[in-house]
């Protein structure tokens, strides 16, 4: 479970997150969406302990982020937008390093590495340096590294980007399995169709504030536009309606 209460983050006077309160329930896949610069990455960076919040309280699995960041890190798996890989290692060495950091028993670790590489079709490339991998291969390896220690929380910034449809399906299956085993998964994505289709719950952040939160199954039927009183047809409609100013919606290129 992730609990964020009154979280704010300022960068040189610029308010990136403003008094954000959010609860991500246990055993769920939570979609966290918003336009560019809305504060998604800042939230993820705070949750991973990369940056410190200016104000507010953040708790993951009951641990306070400020006091127990090492304990939290032991229990989370992360994929960032800029992939967190050591490119001077081979794929196999990278997984071994991650396993060693999380103190996985040697025999279990070797078994998991073999199985994971095989699952993601990386066995033939296991001895190659990561710097020679394609973007898709890197993404799969980053995903494998994030899950190899069976974390209780997965924080994933754009996990499906640059991945082929087969691997995308595999990643989704794995995430479902994690959720069913009791893990909490937070996903950011620009693909609203995918979020709506795959996540249990979704929150939209705009200019550092949560402007919408709902279970995805309720979106089409229950949520109505406040002015027109019409039911939204998709998450995309809600997203555009809540994050775009009226005048911006009407903007066009006059010379075209």
């Amino acid at each position: 479970m992730i609990k964020i209460n009154g979280l704010s983050k300022k960068y040189n006077g610029l308010l990136a997150i403003d008094n954000l309160t959010l609860t991500v329930p246990e055993r769920s896949i939570f979609g966290y969406v918003g336009p560019n610069g809305a504060g998604k990455s800042t939230t993820i960076n705070i949750l991973t302990g990369m940056i410190l919040p200016t104000e507010g309280e953040v708790k993951l699995l009951g641990y306070d982020l400020r006091k127990d960041s090492i304990e939290i890190k032991k229990r989370i798996g992360v994929i960032l937008e800029v992939l967190n890989l050591f490119e001077g290692l081979t794929g196999e060495e990278h997984l071994r390093f991650v396993g060693k950091v999380y103190k996985i028993d040697k025999n279990i670790l070797e078994k998991r590495i073999k199985e994971t590489l095989d699952f993601f079709d990386l066995t033939s490339a296991k001895d190659r340096l990561i710097e020679t991998y394609s973007q898709g291969m890197k993404k799969k390896l980053a995903f494998a590294s994030a899950i190899i220690h069976k974390p209780k929380i997965l924080l994933m910034d754009e996990p499906f980007e640059n991945v082929d449809p087969i691997s995308r399906k595999k990643i989704k299956d794995i995430l479902n399995k994690f959720r069913n085993n009791g893990s909490t998964i937070l996903i950011t994505s620009h693909s609203l169709v995918e979020v709506e289709d795959f996540c249990d719950e979704v929150a939209i952040i705009n200019k550092g504030e949560i402007v919408f939160q709902s279970a995805t199954k309720d979106i089409r039927h229950k949520i109505k536009n406040e002015i027109t009183q019409e039911t939204y047809q998709s998450l995309e409609e809600i997203f555009i309606d809540l994050t775009t100013k009226k005048e911006d919606k009407e903007k066009t290129l006059s010379w075209l």
């Binding site: 890190k73 032991k74 001077g88 081979t90 999380y102």
Partner: protein, 525 residues
């Protein structure tokens, strides 16, 4: 701890394997052999200088080894300066952001990072190797026991130098996030320095004689000259203690920096100061087709830390030449010429190296790729900007040197510099175009380079660059200044100019081909 060790070890192993089991192995080995022979010879030459000073105490009355100590300190200073500015590491990719995601404490990360940086091969192990050899050469000339003690001593000194460099580097990085504090501290330090110089009568000699590095240097002399090694163990111990204290400081600063970094993550990192932009606008007397490129290159010069180091080193050289003239000019023919050589040599090498890594800037690469770019103008503008940086210092050094010797040599020095620079640019145009690297800015161009191979052309260029002035000086020594000498120099210069023009057009066509090749590679990926 063990997992971080595993990480570092594997990256180091892969890096070595990649470099040493490649096509460039032979050239790499040749380079190391050359440097080994060179540094051993260098060590003995310095030993000879020490003996010479000992036999002629009147040269430096009161402090017989002042000059030679200065040489050593300048060398160590150059190493520190290079280590601080030359921010390339095998482990640069182990940036804080990646490791911080794992449950590892910051102090563990930094402890490993600093210590593994000591054996990092990319940047300066050759410099460390050099110091070791110099000391080793001195030590081996006495006895095996002394040599072993000397090597241990050297190791501790090099580690200490490494720690000092790391300390400076971490302070600079910390300050870059704290502009207000940086200004305050610089002002405070200047005031403190002024206080000591003006009121406490602090002299250069006092500074030279009273610092841990000087104690190290003095112990080299007490061992090599007087065969006394009774206090070298204390120096070793002192180096270790200072290193540990330094280590604690660095880790603390890096932790503060890491926390601050998280607070300033959105800060614009590529700010160009207005003054610098205005400076480039002042230079508007080039032909129109060149102007655009020259302006851009000059801006980049000031943004690149490496080009700034060239300026710093040349200023250092200028300060030293000036110092030598105004204070101890009377000894120039016995001590200061070798000293000037020792200082000039790394400056020349650095300039050469630097000019060769000035390739295409990453940010402008898309521009080259898709726009109608004049490649000839692009290459010439790089050369102009390079000369622009060097010109004021070159002129000043020429004036000071000709005042020191005789104004008869002023045209010789100017011609020599022109010859040197034409040689340098001729080769660097080709070498840098062959391997278009990004200009460094905040990220290291080295870490972006996938396969950095030894360049035979660059090596030949370096040799010609070093041998040519030596040959000219030899001719000068034999013939003196006169019609014959100037004729020879003029012919060399004209030939170089013709070659330079040809090389520029060759470099332009090569650059065009490179652009095509990179474009094809990009399409494939």
């Amino acid at each position: 701890m063990l997992s971080i060790f595993y990480l570092y070890w594997r990256i180091l192993y892969n890096e070595y394997r990649k470099r040493f089991f490649s096509k460039s192995t032979l050239f790499g080995a040749a380079l190391i052999i050359f440097l080994t022979i060179f540094s051993v010879g260098f060590g003995f030459a310095l030993g000879f200088l020490v003996s010479y000073t000992r036999l002629h105490p009147e040269l430096n009355a009161g402090d017989p080894f002042y000059g030679i100590r200065l040489v050593f300190l300048q060398m160590i200073g150059s190493v520190i300066l290079l280590k601080v500015t030359y921010n390339a590491r095998t482990f640069k990719q182990l940036n804080l952001n990646t490791l911080r995601l794992f449950p590892v404490t910051k102090s563990t990360i930094f402890l490993f990072d600093i210590n593994i940086g000591f054996i990092d091969l990319i940047s300066l192990y050759l410099m460390e190797f050099l110091i070791g050899l110099i000391a080793g050469a001195g030590g081996f000339s006495i006895s095996i026991y002394t040599a072993i003690v000397f090597l241990i001593f050297c190791f501790s000194l090099v580690y200490f130098v490494h720690i000092i460099s790391e300390l400076f580097q971490s302070i600079i990085k910390l300050f870059s996030y704290l502009p207000k504090i940086r200004t305050t501290i610089v002002v405070l330090l200047t005031l403190i320095l002024l206080y000591f110089v003006a009121i406490e009568k602090l002299t250069w000699e006092i500074v030279i004689n009273n610092n841990p590095l000087s104690w190290n240097v003095s112990s080299i002399f007490s061992l090599t000259i007087f065969h006394q090694n009774h206090w070298i163990f204390e120096i070793i111990l002192l180096n270790i203690i200072f290193s540990i204290i330094g280590l604690v400081f660095i880790i603390s600063i890096k932790i503060i920096h890491a926390n601050l970094f998280s607070a300033h993550i959105l800060k614009k990192t590529q700010e160009v100061k207005k003054a610098k932009i205005q400076l480039s606008r002042l230079i508007s007397f080039f032909p129109e087709k060149l102007q655009l490129y020259v302006e851009k290159d000059i801006k980049y010069l000031f943004r690149s830390s490496r080009s700034l180091t060239a300026i710093i080193m040349e200023v250092m050289l200028l300060v030293f030449v000036g110092y030598m003239y105004f204070t101890h000019g009377k000894y120039y023919n016995s001590i200061y010429l070798p000293v000037a050589f020792v200082i000039t040599f790394p400056v020349l090498i650095w300039d050469f190296f630097l000019s060769n890594i000035w390739g295409l800037e990453k940010q402008g690469f898309g521009f080259y790729m898709y726009s109608n770019v004049n490649f000839n103008a692009l290459v010439i503008s790089k050369n102009i900007s390079f000369l622009f940086v060097r010109l004021p210092v070159i002129l000043l050094i020429s004036v000071v040197l000709s005042t020191l010797f005789s104004f008869e040599y002023f045209p010789v020095i100017i011609l020599l510099y022109l010859i040197l620079n034409f040689t340098l640019l001729m080769f660097s145009n080709i070498v840098s175009v062959r391997n278009p690297y990004p200009v460094d800015f905040k990220e290291s161009s080295f870490s972006k380079r996938q396969q950095r191979s030894f360049s035979l052309l660059g090596f030949i260029g370096l040799m010609i660059y070093l041998i040519l002035p030596a040959a000219i000086l030899f001719i000068l020594y034999k013939l003196g200044t006169g019609l014959v000498f100037y004729s020879i120099m003029s012919v060399i210069l004209i030939l170089l100019f013709i070659f330079y023009k040809k090389m520029v057009s060759y470099a332009s066509s090569l650059l065009y081909k490179q652009k095509e090749n990179i474009y094809k590679k990009l399409i494939k990926t």
